[in-house]
């Protein structure tokens, strides 16, 4: 799942990727602009609806939902 402006970078609100995926595998599977953006420390990651404290420790299996969350908009 791609939220906010990350959906624009990914070209769609959701992408389907083949699992299993760790952080390096996820980045390799994403479009280049999005792979670069997700490294920004302000962008958070959730796995199956739960925020990851450390996105670099991502371990997703086939069928899991990964959400890429940019900073919320405020104002």
């Amino acid at each position: 799942m791609l939220l906010g402006k990350l959906a624009d970078l990914g070209g769609a609100p959701a992408l389907s990727l083949a699992g299993p995926l760790d952080w390096a595998g996820l980045k390799a599977a994403l479009p280049a602009a999005l792979a670069e953006a997700v490294d920004d420390p302000r962008n958070r990651v959730a796995l199956n609806g739960a925020l990851l404290a450390d996105k670099h420790a991502l371990q997703a299996s086939s069928g899991d939902e990964i959400a890429l969350l940019p900073p919320v908009s405020g104002g």
Binding site: V72, S73, G75
Partner: protein, 148 residues
């Protein structure tokens, strides 16, 4: 009385506030804030997206914190998602308490957190083009007021 909701359709705040007030008999005060989509220059529409597994649970956690922090009888917290036009209500927070300060401060607390820490992403359409709204420095200042 606790009523926390995400709505996908336009709502009329008065239809929520009346029943909410009635549902808290014996209250000493009720404070309500309604936020509407501003008529900013050139803005045709505002769209809020959310992430289902985080957004509503996050609002419930915020309500828990408000109940812990203030002496409340009831809390109503309703937020729109989807596309809205200028003038449409986007958020309504109402707090009922025995004493006014708890009601007023609880609404202020909830609004500062909804605006800057809740899981919503906003974009606005100007001249037919969508533009994402970025976080503002003022949001962090508003949140810092409650970190004591």
């Amino acid at each position: 009385m606790r009523d926390i909701r995400l709505l996908t359709q336009m709502f009329i705040p008065g239809t929520l506030i009346g029943p909410f007030t009635q549902a808290n008999p014996g209250l000493g005060g009720v404070c309500t804030f309604v936020g509407e989509v501003r008529y900013d220059e050139g803005v045709e529409a505002l769209e809020l997206t959310h992430y289902e597994p985080l957004t509503l649970p996050g609002m419930h956690e915020l309500a828990d914190r408000a109940f812990d922090r203030f002496t409340l009888m009831g809390l109503l917290m309703v937020h729109r998602v989807g596309q809205m036009r200028p003038g449409e209500p986007i958020v309504c927070v109402s707090a009922a308490a025995l004493h006014r300060r708890d009601a007023i401060d609880a609404v202020d607390f909830c609004m500062d957190h909804l605006k800057s820490a809740a899981w919503f992403w906003k974009r606005e359409r100007r001249a037919g083009e969508w533009h994402w709204i970025e976080p503002r420095a003022q949001d962090a200042v508003d949140l810092a007021r409650w970190q004591s």
